[in-house]
Structures are given as structure tokens and as C-alpha cells.
Amino acid sequence: MTARFFRGRLRPAVALTAMLVSFAAPRADASRFTASDGAQASGTNARVVVDDVGRRVVMPAQVNRIVTLAPNLTETVYALGLEDKLAGDTDVCDTPPAAKRKPHVGEPQNPSLEAIVALRPDLVLATTSINVESTADALARLGIAVYTTAGDTQTVVQMLDSIARMADLMGAGPQGTELVARLRARLDSLHARLADRPMAHVLFVVWEDPLITIGQNTFIADALRWGGAESIVLSSQNWPHLSLEEVVRLQPDYIIFAGGHDESAESELAELRAKPIWRDLDAVEAGHVVNLSEESIRPAPGLVDAIEQLAHDVHPDAFADKAEMLNTKFEMRPAPAIRGDGGSECDSCGR
């Protein structure tokens, strides 16, 4: 019976089904959804700011729940003393250690939108250095305020401004100003010490094989400059590939790694001494290898600690008057914990 019913009716049946589906589909269209209650609650107080990538962000009146999508942003939130407002961060946010215990939304590159929404954030912080635009787009379309900071191509001063702006957004303006002022003071004092010295020529190794270093416009390059060092490579690309030949030709004074927890300058040096070509470099022969911890090379307050450490390693004679400092280049320096007031707990690192 069914056969006879369908005979001759198959094509119209298919067409009808297709039409029904196509009418049902718009129901599932995400773009129907604009800002949810959060941002529209007190319409008069809602303000619009422009983030670092030019996106217009409608800020809610009160920011009580924050989700961060990158480790440096998490670090900044803690440094500003706002950890109670931090509703969630990513799997890889590990500085400070307490951040690991917060609810996670996945990896920075591809976080779970649903997990983010489930945390009901008033503000989501993202950065261009590690997040993808489509995440911010999707969240914006769902009506969630997303503020994206520029990551890789900032100067240290711009980073400080960014921290101040973020603090302002999250309702912690005074703390932000104070934190930034303190960090600035440390940088200025460093600058004063190093003012008369020539810049050390260094090779900053992002990745060993293939050999990748940093470009001029990255914040790492700027941070290096604050520490009295200049990359031997002047490239407008952010992460230029380099051949070992070039390194041999340019003979940097120091080689800088940003390794993980379990690597020390000593072990790095030992490895390099075993490698052909590397071991013949002047810097390796002289033992001029510096290891900065990976967590500190981020656009976050901890960067200033790294800059100070770098300056000590590369210009030891500028700090010779600080007799109490033990500053051999071979010592493993753990990432100094960040206190609530933005100062570090490493007393030997100077003010």
C-alpha cells in the first residue's frame, strides 16, 4: 500500500520535506540573538568602549563575573586583586597556581562556547596573541561582552596602559593605576641603571628546530630593550625563521631561552655544548646562556620580573653595587610569585 501511495509522489514529497527543513532552519540561526539581559539591564549606564582590535564592546554596568581566555590575562586579573570576580579561565592558565583551581572553559585556541556561557560572564577577556577571532565573534553574537587586547605587537609601555584600561573596565581603576605606577617605577629605575651601557646583542630563541626568533615589533623585543638587550635579528615579521649560519655570522653575546619549569640555564648550556655549530658560538663557549621562565615572558605584570632578571644576567656589572645579590648565570631562578600588590617575592631581585 505504501508503495502505491508513494509512487509518483516521491518527488513532491522530497521537495516538501526540503521546504519544511529550510523553514525550520532559521529557528536555529544564532544571529537572531542580540545582547542578553546582562548588558541591557540598566540601559543608561551601559557604555560602549573600543577594544584593542577596534571592536565596539557594550560594557555591562557592573562587572562581577569575568572569564579570561589566556594565561597572561588571568595573571593580570590576579595581580589586580580581582581573583574573586574570576569565574573561569582556560586549561593552561597556571600563574599564579591558584588559577589552576578555577573552573576551566577549555583551551585558549578553541574554548567551549557553551562552557563560557554556562559561567554567565559579564565580561570575557581575550588576546590576539593566543585566541582566535571566531571565538570573540561568536561570543559577541551571543550578546556577551568580549574585550580583546593586542598581544604580540605591543610595547611594554602599551602593555601597562592596557593593564590600566582592563583594570578600569573591571571596576578596579585605582588598583590598576597603582599597579602600573609601581611597575613603571621599577622599569624606570632599571632604565636609569642601564642608561650608559651599550645594548647587549642577544639571540632570543622561540623555537630551536626550526630556529625561530622574535621580530622587532613583538613585545618580547621591546621587553628585551628595557632589559638592555637587542635582538641580533631586525625583522618586521613577528616570528622569523633564522638559519644557524646567520647566528654564526652575527655572534650574539647572549643566548636567551624561555624554557619550561624543568629547564635551567645550566641544562640548556650543557645541551648546547653538545650540539655541533652551537657549541662553537662565542656565547656558548663563554657560558652566556640565560633562561627566562616561560610563564614570565607574557604580556602580564610578571614580565617586569623577567626584564629585571634579564638585565642582571646580561649586565651584571651594572648591579655590582648590590652586594647581597647572588647572581650567577647558572642558577635556576624560579618564577617569582606575585604578591597582591604587584611586587614580587624575590627579595634578591631588587626593588
Binding site: 529550510s22 537572531r32 542578553s36 562556547l113 554567565r120
Partner: protein, 338 residues
Amino acid sequence: MRPLTPGRVGAICLGLGLVLFAAVVVSLRMGAYPIAISDIVTSLVQGALGRWNNIPTESRLVIFGLRLPRIALGVLVGASLATSGAGFQALLRNPLADPYVLGVSSGAALGAIVSLIAAPHAPALIQVAAFAGALATIAVVYFLGRRGGQLDSATLLLAGIITASFLSAVIMFLMTTLSGRDLRGMAFWLMGDLQAPSTVSAKWLYIVMGIAVGSIYSTASDLNLILTGENEARHLGVNVERVKLVVYVGASLLTGLAVSVSGAIGYVGLLVPHLMRMLFGSDYRLLIPTSAISGAILIVVADTLARTVVAPTELPVGAMTALAGAPVFIYLMRRRVR
């Protein structure tokens, strides 16, 4: 002798449709944000009636803003890829053919990369650019794949493979010029991702898919004959050249559609038609609709797994399709009694 009847086609498709429906319901239920089934049903009903205000905000956001669009895209992509795979397997007379063998996905990826480089702050453009890249590749491979003015299976396959390799090389070169952020985005795009919402309304995508699938289905009887030999088919009255053109354009369009929406998700186009052949036979009048529906089922299941297995980490959908599809395939292969 029990020939295929429209009734049988309808019954099997209905059965598969029910499985798809079940998969969709389960998928709606699962996710980081807990919502009870009763709430899902009420929300769906309220939404269908247009009473958006009656639905709690989070439910509305999660169900209609996140899960349902993602599932809808998944159904679209799955159906498109599976149908395209079945079509190419007939067109190229090769059981190993999949939707990407003729280079359409490489063309779409190239379009996406060019859009990223030329207009980095207009991510909405990526989808359109990818589709444009796909269309361009379709045209190029068509002209390269002709022999004596007509599409020739062997020449087409060769043309497609060469084009795909060439485009991949260009893409690799361009990727070295991308900044870190765009590079990451591009890598994820290439791997296949259903989380990013479509910039073009789903309605248009479904319409295009419907037209393409419909066109291919209209040649189903012809394809059955062509698969016993092109000359034989010609002598039975099949306009072989026309059929090949329709299938080529239709299947390539479906691939371009799927890839521009979600990147290149693998295995669906290859596995699903073979699965359907094992279960229901090689008759294309049944193979095409069953492949479409089953492709949708596979993607919905795979995507649900991808976003829940190691929540909140999102696994790549393409890996999940292989993991979900391959064991079923192997099981059926071993059970097959002839």
C-alpha cells in the same frame, strides 16, 4: 525478484530519519551547561510558537544560540559530504573517491587564507571567500578534466589530484606569511570545526544543498547504469555526458558548501556511502538519500562526542568521525555474508 520501490526508499529513509532525530535530541541534551530534557522540549515548543520571552535566558542562549545552530550546521555538512562522496565514487568509477579528491577543499582553503591575508579584520568574509575558492576550483578542474570535449573519469581524477597538490603547496607557502593568530585560526579551520557559526543564514545553505542533492538524485537511475559501463549505459539510452556534468557540478558544490562552512572534515564522504552499500545495496536511488541522512547522523554523533568527551576541551570533529565511523565499518565488513 524484488525491485526497489519508492515505498521501500521512503520506509528506509523514514527509519534513518528517526535515528537522526534521536541523535539530534540526545545532542541537544548534552553539553557543558546542564539542561533537563523537559526544559529542552518546552524551550523547543516555545521557540516554535515564537514565544521567545517565555524561555529562560541561558536556555535560550545555549539551546537556540549554541547547540541548535551547531547541530543544524552538522546535519547540513554531514548530508552534503556523504552525498558528494557517493556522487564522486560513481563519477570517477572509483570506490576510494571522497569529496576532496578533486581539489575543491584545497580551493576553499586557499580562498579562506587569501581572505585572512587581504582582509584580516573581516572574518565574516572567510566563509564567502572559501566558497568562491571552491567554485573557481570546480571550473578549473572541469576544464582540465576534459578529454575530447567531454568529462573523462580518469582525466578528471588526475586533474583533480594535481590541482589539489598545487593548491596545497600554495597554501603552505601562504601560511608561512601569516601572523601567529591568523595561523592558528587557519590551522583550526583546516582541521574542521563546527563551533563557529555560519555568517550566511542557514536557510540559504540548506536551499543550495537541497538543489544539489536533488539534481544528483535525478540521475540516480542513470548512475546505476553507468556503473555497469559507460558504453553500455549509452547504448541503453543514457545521456552519459550530461549525467557526468550534473553529478560533477552537484557533488563539487556540496563539497564547497560543506568546506566553506566547517573546514575539511574527513572520512564522512568516504565511509558513509560504503556503509550504506553494505547495509542497503548499491542502487543509487536508495544510496543517495540514505547516505545523506546517515552522513548527518554521523556528524551529529561525532560532533556531540567532540564537545563532550573531554569537556570543556573541544576535540577536532574530523578525528571523531573516524573514531565513530571506522569501528562500525570494520564490523560490517567482517559480518558481510555473500
